[in-house]
Each structure stands twice: as structure tokens, then as C-alpha cells.
Symmetry: C2
Subunit: 274 residues, 2 copies
Amino acid sequence: MSEVWLNGRYVAADEARIGIADRGFLLGDGAFETIRAETGRLRRWPRHRARLAGALGVLQIAPPDWVAVESAARRLAREHGEAAVVRITISRGEHGPGMTAPPGEPGTVLVTARAMAPAPRVLNAILVRDLRREPTSLATRFKLTQYADPLHARRQAASVGADMALMLSSSGHLSCADSASLFWIEAGGRVATPGADCAALNGTARGALMLACAEAGITLDEVKAGPDALQRAEAVFITNAVMGVVPVARVDDRSFDADHPMLARLSDMERAAE
Amino acid sequence: MSEVWLNGRYVAADEARIGIADRGFLLGDGAFETIRAETGRLRRWPRHRARLAGALGVLQIAPPDWVAVESAARRLAREHGEAAVVRITISRGEHGPGMTAPPGEPGTVLVTARAMAPAPRVLNAILVRDLRREPTSLATRFKLTQYADPLHARRQAASVGADMALMLSSSGHLSCADSASLFWIEAGGRVATPGADCAALNGTARGALMLACAEAGITLDEVKAGPDALQRAEAVFITNAVMGVVPVARVDDRSFDADHPMLARLSDMERAAE
């Protein structure tokens, strides 16, 4: 039986339980990271740890013992082979009713792992226009356990046979994919991606790719652009921590070059970047 | 020991557990209602049930056995005396990893109750400007288990000694309080409240009061108004399912008439309304 790590102890997955007063369950009051692990090594652990620490800081939940969390994540990842997906979930834990809870207390800390499924070679996407992402919301600025909107966007995509949904910000600008960062390649070779003012999450693969592009002299700009920017793009791709770079072959009725010459290079760069 | 009702069974509260794969815990994938119960009767049960059913519909979670849920809620409420607060929480339940889950399956159904604390006579509030509510988000349209933003607004209020936070919509219009509907009374007696286009939740007490005002010939309009509308208001109040009408005596540095002649009448009307 597969194990998980819950509040400092290894527990069989199907025996691991949390209390019904856990505010993660009652109020979405928590944050998480999904991390790619390779032969038990956590990819970009400093980036994931920093982002999760940022979320816990704003939520005023005490940080966990990071060394113990990393150690548990690596052990669980190794049990799932060469390529695994680790998820670290930290909620505020159990408290009484009401809006407030004592700040700075340790929460519920859960680490799980599973074998990684192969990433798709390309994706087809739809653009969801009626479910906007607000840049000031904590749920767009941090990776919180509050995914109703992306999940709903994904349901809309699945209902028309697409793999993923792209979303807009409150102001109608391109924001991100339902579970990934969004990029496009313009004629001339500039790479563009929405920034925080468009409610884009600071993705770990996104951050690594931006740094790698800066080092390689490839122009990658954070932009505030409407959906028409995709109409003018030569290629579109997404990144996330698990899948790396994946070309988007289609958004609604518009096709893109999934074999654009820059895509292979960007994919290699993302793979090599920390 | 206090009991709760979890997936059809009465369980001691401190023994009630959910699995760590529950998507309510992992993704905020659920909805809830907080209901005032009086001598075991659920106030405005049809309104609460309809709103929760609407949330489950959009989330594509199967509705529970409403008769059994109401029965359990009433039994638990009676154990907490004449005035109790019931919470019904329904999440998608346990599913494997990934964004998608089979639609239309029954979820985790939790009913809890507690004794009601007396409502405050008046509240002091702050207006939070940097945490906007997006009208298209499922979390503003339905009462989802995703409260990070209101909880954060409340922390900001508490940090300056205020009781509650008022919030703005993405477009900068008055929206609601962190856990209540917002109203103000203008010179001349018109009552105003933000509408759905300002990311106001369709509160049950709000709905009841709007209907009662319409029947009594009191003008109560849904408006799209900036924060300056409060500067011009004679009185401000909030409503929620548990507390009913509560005057707001102060928003930031501006004081309001907490004994405005219309407040007592509106409070009586809310109490009498279904």
C-alpha cells in the first residue's frame, strides 16, 4: 500500500485522515505545491519552497520543518520510480468556527507522491471568456487550495474535447492556462507571457524559463495583451512544473505551429534550467 | 461529546475524519451553507437549499438526500439549544489526482452545529481596497469552500481593531462585507446594496430583506457604486444568515448613525421575513 506523510508521520494512504474541522476542508484555507521528482530529487525545490513559504506567510500559517518535508517528499517520490509527482499541501489545520484563527500556528502538513504520467506531445485548448481571474486575489497570487475556477474552466474544455482551458484576467487580458503558465511566440521570435498584473501565477517552470531566456539572449517579455495577441502568434505553448514545455496546437478554431523551430530549443532550455 | 453528521452517519465530532484525497481539502472543490436554527427549525431552509443546490449544479456534484440532510441538521441544532448555527458542507469527495473528476457523483456531506453567540449590536468596519472580488468567479457567485480572500480581509480588519472588512469588486465598486451582505441608507430613505455585477453573493438574509422591502414599499435598489457612496450615506448595515441586520457604526474614519430610524424597522422586517 502506498504511503503518505501526514503531520510528521508516514501513514498508509487509505488510512490517512484529517479532522472535519480542518480549515483547509471547510474554507480552502491552505496552499500547495506540485513538484516533479526525478530519481528522488525534487526539481526546483528552492523555487517551490519559496513560493509555498510566501503563501504561508500571507496566510499567517507557521512554516513547516522544510528539511523534514523535503526528506519525506524525496522518500515518497523514490517509491514511485524514476519520474514522480510530489504534492505538498499545507492547510491552517483544525480550529473552531468563525472567520479568525490564531495566526502563526502550524497547520496540517501532507506530502503525497505518485508515478508521473508521460506529458502529452501537444495540447488543444479553448479560451474561456466568462470566468475571469482577479490579479489581487490571493488565489491568483499564491498557489492556494482554491481551484474551483480552473477546475470549472477545465470542465468546459473537456466538454468540447479540448485538453486545457486558457483564462483571461478581470480586465480581459490573457492570463494563464487552467493549470499552467501561458506563452506565445510572435513573428520575429519574441516570446510573450502574461504577468502578475494579468493574474498569472509565478510558475516555477515559467520562472526558470524566463531566467534561461534572459541568459541565452532570447527576448521573453511579460505583457498585458488581449486575446487577439494569440491570433497574431506563430506558436503557443504552456509550461508547468510537471510537464515542462508543451506546445498548444490549437486554441478554439485557430491552429498553431506545434513544430515551430523555437519550441524544441525552449523545451530543452526549460529542462536544463533550475 | 458533540456529534456531527458525516456521509449519512452520526459521529462524535472529534472522531469525524475525511480522507486526505478529498478534493474539498486539496482543491477547495466544494460548497457550504451556514444556517441559523431556532428551536431546531432551520431558518430559510428553502433559500439555503436552493443556493447550495445551485453551487452543486455548477460544480457537477450530485445533490445529497435533502430530507436526510435537513433532518440531521435539525437534530444537531436541537442539541445546541434554542439558537444554533448549522453548517452544511459538501465537497466533491475523494478522487484520484488531476484536474478532472467524474461529474455527477455524490460528494462528502458534513453537517455540524454549534450554539449561536449573541449578535453584536453594532460593528466597526474597514474598507479593504487591495483585494478585489471578481464577479465571474464561481467563488463570488456561489458559496464555495474558498474563503482565503475574505479571511485575509478579516485579518486586515482585526489587525486595526475593526470587526469586519468591506470589499470592492474588480471594477472598484462596493461589493459586500467579508462574511455578510452590505447595505446603506441614503438621504431620502433609499436603501442600496451591491448586485451580482459587483460580485455580491446572493445572501439569504439579503434576499429575504429585499423581498420584504418590496412588499412594504421601501425602495431597496441593487446599485453599482464606488466607495464614495458610503461617504454620502446616512447609515450602513450588514446582513447575514446568522446575525440578521447589524448596523455599521464606522467605516474607516467615517461614522454612521447606528440608531438611524430605519434600522430598527429593517431589522424587524428581516427577522419576520422568510
